[in-house]
Each structure stands twice: as C-alpha cells, then as structure tokens.
Symmetry: C2
Subunit: 172 residues, 2 copies
C-alpha cells in the first residue's frame, strides 16, 4: 500500500505584540500609552510597574538572570511548549533584534489555542504563572535576554510535546 502524501503542517500566524493581544498570557513590558510620570528634570518618561511578579509561592524569591540564546531561523517548527507552575517568568531583550513569542493559556495544553507574537527590540514580556510558552526564540543573531523568574525549591518546569508540530513561516 502506498504511503499517503505528507499533510502540510498547520501554520501559526504571527501577530504584533500588544498589551491587549497578550493579556491572556501576561504582561508586555514596554513603554506604551501615556507615561505614569516624568523623571530626571523631564528628560525621562517613566512607565511604572509593568509586570506582575508572582514568584513567592513555596518560599520562592525573584531572581534576575541573563540568557544568551542562539538565533532561530524561519520557517520554524514549534514542537513543544513549557510552563512554570509555581512562578511567573519575564524576558526582556538586551541589545537584541526582533524576537518571537509563542504562548498558550494556562491549564491543559490546547495546541489550537497557541498564538505567536513578534516583539520589537524594546519589548519584553512576563508570562503569568502556569502559562504555556515556547523556549526563547531569538532571530537573526545571538541575543541576550534579561530574565526575572523564581528561585527556590519546588518543581517549577513542565515540558509537553505537541501532538503534531506547528509551523511559523514568516514574521507576518
């Protein structure tokens, strides 16, 4: 019996990263809207308190790290997702280019609910505790990201493979 031809992978479209679009997953850490106040004699606009850190469960504390990520190339297959059941996790690019965010709501992983967002070099995100996300996707160059997550005892990582991969073809 002849093998059936390979079915094309489901394509995951890429949306612009905005606070509204990302609300189901957490916070966008970026200057947006009106500043909350000015500082430095008017030379600086302050956008205050842009991420809800949730890292103190089970004796945890906030931890600031750098992750240096090798770049991914498009098209890119999304084969697995991870989550941190007892802590939020924030990423912000330092001197990097555009980067990609792939997320799905907390709860049982539903691959139909996975969404992808293109972030600018001055946009970070904070994944809410338990929100599914793909490991860091840097584009174009080796990129450093500042990470704010939870340090402490307890099992804080779940990884799950998708029943079948999704494919990101391009940034739009």
């Amino acid at each position: 019996m002849a093998a059936s031809p390979a079915r094309p992978l489901r394509r995951l479209p890429v949306e612009p990263l905005t606070r509204e679009a990302f609300r189901p997953f957490g916070d966008v850490i970026a200057a947006s809207g009106a500043p909350d106040h000015w500082a430095n004699g008017g030379a600086a606009e302050v956008f205050r308190d842009r991420a809800v850190l949730d890292v103190e469960a089970e004796g945890g504390r906030p931890c600031v790290s750098i992750v240096r990520a090798a770049p991914s190339r498009l098209p890119l297959q999304i084969r697995l997702m991870e989550r941190h059941p007892i802590g939020s996790q924030a990423f912000a690019p330092l001197g990097a280019g555009a980067w990609l965010i792939v997320a799905a709501p907390a709860g049982p992983l539903d691959s139909r609910a996975i969404r992808a967002f293109a972030a600018a070099p001055n946009q970070g995100v904070n994944y809410r505790r338990g929100v599914w996300h793909h490991p860091l996707i840097a584009l174009g160059q080796v990129s450093d990201f500042l990470v704010i997550d939870r340090a402490g005892d307890g099992e804080n990582l779940t990884i799950e493979s998708l029943p079948e991969p999704l494919e990101i073809l391009a940034l739009e």
Copy 2:
C-alpha cells in the same frame, strides 16, 4: 578688577564596565564568565542570579518599569547625584546603544570617589541600596531601559548637588 580666568572642570575618565570594577557599587547584569547551565536543548546559555535585589525594607516589593530616556551628548557635565536609601535599583537597556554609568560609594557623597563606566548595549547594572548614581545617561538615541526597583511607602530618594561639576569628555 578683572575676573580670574575660568578654571577648567575636573575631567571624569570613563572606564569599561566590568563586574570587578563595579563591585563597590553593585552588580553588573550581563553574560560573563562561564554560564551556570544550559537550557533549551543546548541552544541557550544561562547566567543565573546576577543581581541582588534589596527592595523589601519597610514593606517594599520589587517593581518592574520602563524608563524612556532622551539621549545625552558628550561632553557632559555631572552636576548632581542621587541615591535610594531603602532599595536597590537595576537598569538594563532594551534595544538601546551604549550608555554611561556614573556612581559613587554609599555613605556621605564624596565627589572625588565618583567613577564613570561605559556599558555595552547588553549590559545592565544593579545599584546597591544607598549607592550614589547619576540619573540615566543614554547616548545617541532615545533609549528604553528596564528598571527593577522598590515600590512601597517610605522616602527612597536623595538628590545632592556636587560642589563643582565634573566633566565627561569622551567614552574613553
């Protein structure tokens, strides 16, 4: 009586930002040395726990903000310094260029102890509680910085003018 000619300002040399050089003032938040571990199947190097957050005095909590700073031009006069007596304060550049850090040890402000550091676009710093520092100095372009500092009640800002300005002429 003729006015005496103006005395030139004391020049503040600019040093490269390294963990060792910055130790009197706090932490450099950057990839340096060997990574603490690898992640994402080897695609990411993790430099873990690079800043000591000290924000819980007097009921404080960590607060993540964005500050958008207008660029400064060289030569630049340093006329004042500030400190946060009850909390650390971290800055990391998002999609920005090089930036300048000017700091002096905690305690009574000694303008002879002020030092300046040139930071790369992938280097952040965390000022230890009480360490004197100049307001953000972005170079070349409007620049966004992620800030991790203390939110909460209490007086957490002191500003002091220098007896006479210092001058930064160039990045080296």
